[in-house]
Amino acid sequence: GAGVSQSPSNKVTEKGKDVELRCDPISGHTALYWYRQSLGQGLEFLIYFQGNSAPDKSGLPSDRFSAERTGGSVSTLTIQRTQQEDSAVYLCASSSLAGGAYNEQFFGPGTRLTVL
């Protein structure tokens, strides 16, 4: 009965470095979402996966951001050449499937990224 897990829980990096953030969704959940929460802000949608495909990438803020999902399970969000404005908590959520009225999203604890 494990929930959504994310790693690392905290990541401190230097400006210009690349980072990878990992999300393990609930087993069997086909829909996976990445959100970002900056200090004092609400959650901002980044990208949505259905299986291994990403039909909605409209929230990715720049081409430095990319994400992939393999085996319909684990997802990795990669930020290249990090900037200080990338500092935020990155949250992953999964649901049993998208497109239904009653499919709630289950969130992980997030990865706090700090870019120095």
Binding site: V4, Y35, Y48, L91, G100, Y102
Partner: protein, 111 residues
């Protein structure tokens, strides 16, 4: 995606009923109204969802007027553990169900 607006912060005493209102001025016909709760250093947690009228579950009630331009989350007899930020993102009933969170409403329960 429809935007939501909420008051920023509110205090309440333990044991009282707390009502939090959210505006959904641009809500679409196919949108459901969902409410999430977020504790510090945790991801949001689903509380309740509705389309119109009233929905009740074991933790909260949700009131949605006929025009659906607002919704009110009611928490009966709050405890200190209900101190959290509450969000009311609309959710489309089809498509990818992405959630459009606003800034949320900080509820602080005072002993």
């Amino acid at each position: 995606l429809a935007k939501t607006t909420q008051p920023i912060s509110m205090d309440s005493y333990e044991g009282q009923e707390v009502n939090i209102t959210c505006s959904h001025n641009n809500i679409a016909t196919n949108d459901y109204i969902t409410w999430y709760q977020q504790f510090p250093s945790q991801g949001p947690r689903f509380i309740i969802q509705g389309y119109k009228t009233k929905v009740t579950n074991e933790v909260a009630s949700l009131f949605i007027p006929a025009d659906r331009k607002s919704s009110t989350l009611s928490l009966p007899r709050v405890s200190l553990s209900d101190t959290a930020v509450y969000y009311c993102p609309p959710k489309t009933a089809y498509g990818n169900n992405r959630l459009a969170f606003g800034k949320g409403n900080q509820v602080v329960v005072i002993p």
